[in-house]
């Protein structure tokens, strides 16, 4: 099975697609990358991921897998060399817990901060910072979440090292204060200097332009007001 052809459907600026790229590169797995325009979804994407209609989607032989963290675990289990998840069941549970925490408490709130304005942006940024406080305690004393080498949690949280600073700049907000969060800042730096991560990132200028437009479009949309109400004023 492992020798079957691998394809990845992604979007150039998606942090979720990059999780899969990093996992594939770390394991030295050859794959064909297919760029998807998420604003003009292809029949291929709609056929492969009819439930969510989102990237990334991994195609391995005749198998189709969606959801970035599901794909990363699939990659780890199908190609067991250079393991990403720890071996110990407790450490694995911790990695899964913190991956879920960072997704729901940091990524979602930082994204809200990017797209909101005024007091709501401030509230979202504050919630994001509270999440970073917890992550700081987990990474303290470690070079990487995975120890000496990049692991599952580094991959799942890797967006913090590159996408978050872009969102902070576009949203004029500070979530990662290097003085308040020295361990997290150091980890971000370590990650960016790792060849697999550092050499596999979208262009920063293009990202700034993209997220400026995205922030404006989402803020002005009707449905965003409902999202704000649900997440910031429950």
């Amino acid at each position: 099975m492992a020798e079957q052809k691998v394809k990845l459907l992604g979007f150039w600026v998606s942090p979720f697609a990059y999780r899969v790229i990093w996992a594939l590169k770390l394991k030295g797995i050859d794959y064909e990358y297919i760029e998807e325009d998420i604003f003009n979804k292809s029949p291929l994407l709609l056929q492969l991921n009819p439930i969510h209609k989102k990237v990334p989607v991994l195609i391995h032989g005749d198998r189709v897998i969606s959801e970035s963290y599901v794909i990363v675990q699939y990659i780890d289990e199908t190609w067991p060399h250079c393991p990403l998840l720890p071996q110990d069941p407790y450490e694995r549970a911790m990695a899964r817990f913190w991956a879920d925490f960072a997704e729901t408490k940091l990524l979602n709130t930082a994204w809200l901060g990017l797209c909101a304005r005024g007091a709501e942006r401030e509230k979202a940024a504050k919630l994001a910072m509270e999440a970073v406080e917890k992550i700081e305690e987990v990474v303290k004393g470690k070079k990487l979440f995975g120890g000496e080498s990049i692991g599952y949690l580094d991959i799942c949280l890797g967006w913090i090292s590159y996408w978050l600073p872009v969102w902070e700049e576009v949203g004029s907000m500070q979530i990662i204060d290097p003085i308040k969060f020295p361990a997290t800042s150091s980890w971000m730096n370590t990650l960016l200097h790792h060849p697999v991560i550092g050499d596999n990132l979208p262009g920063r200028d293009a990202m700034i332009e993209y997220f400026q437009k995205r922030s404006k479009d989402i803020y002005e949309s009707d449905w965003f007001k409902d999202i704000i109400r649900l997440h910031l004023h429950p």
Partner: protein, 235 residues
């Protein structure tokens, strides 16, 4: 691992805590159940889950594990002897994880939305969404079960536990809104699965009585409605 102290912090009405009951039952693990009062959380809960302060928490070798899906996978890995909870093949595991995420992040959010929907139109839309979600899961059931009784085949497994824990609350939503959600005609596979799931040896003695759950839900929603009426205006 066998014979070590295992504790579960949960509440009888929590579907997420029920997942842990069932999984430990499948593995024939002896454990101590600590019934938490969410209005007055124990010191043990606050120390074991300082991040979310929620149930369920599994404590094994004095180490707490939180988040029900992480706990289920931990149980499968810490007690690796059969029967297994997750499939052994990486692709089937990926399929199970994908649908677990759909059930938890999409479908259960819609089910909760029924309770918070205000007005007849919003309620109907919320209920329709829950039903449509079940139609999607019905299709997944067909593909996963391949004609057998459960998502996992001949025996209950990960996805059966993930969805099955919500059956009591699905019944509550049906009774409170006087509708059928798990419809034998639209979802024959799931309807048959639900009956077999509830009769399973690892489920039947730990699943809360659905009418007791309904009484509890009625009481909780009544108290919430009263609190809302009495709350000061927030402008």
């Amino acid at each position: 691992m066998a014979g070590s102290e295992v504790k579960v912090l949960g509440t009888w009405a929590s579907p997420f805590a029920l997942r842990i009951h069932i999984a430990l039952g499948i593995k024939s693990v002896t454990y101590e159940w600590v019934e938490e009062n969410l209005e007055a959380k124990s010191q043990l809960l606050l120390e074991s889950n300082p991040i979310n302060k929620q149930v369920p928490v599994l404590i094994h070798h004095h180490k707490p594990i939180c988040e029900s899906l992480a706990i289920l996978q931990y149980i499968d890995e810490a007690w690796p002897s059969a029967p297994s909870i997750l499939p052994s093949d990486p692709y089937h595991r990926a399929v199970a994880r994908f649908w677990a995420a759909y059930i938890d992040h999409k479908w259960f959010t819609w089910l909760k939305g029924v309770a918070s929907a205000e007005g007849a139109e919003a309620k109907k839309a919320a209920l329709d969404q829950v039903r449509e979600g079940l139609v999607v899961v019905e299709e997944a059931f067909g593909k996963c079960s391949k004609g057998k009784d459960f998502f996992s085949g001949d025996r209950i497994g990960y996805l059966d536990i993930v969805l099955g824990c919500f059956l009591g609350w699905l019944y509550v939503a049906e009774k409170r809104n006087d509708v059928k959600l798990l419809d034998e005609e639209k979802m024959p596979g799931l309807a048959a699965w639900a009956i077999k799931f509830c009769l399973d040896g690892a489920v039947k003695d730990v699943m809360p009585d659905k009418d007791e759950l309904l009484d509890y839900a009625n009481m909780v929603f009544q108290a919430m409605a009263k609190a809302k009426l009495n709350a000061p205006p927030n402008n």
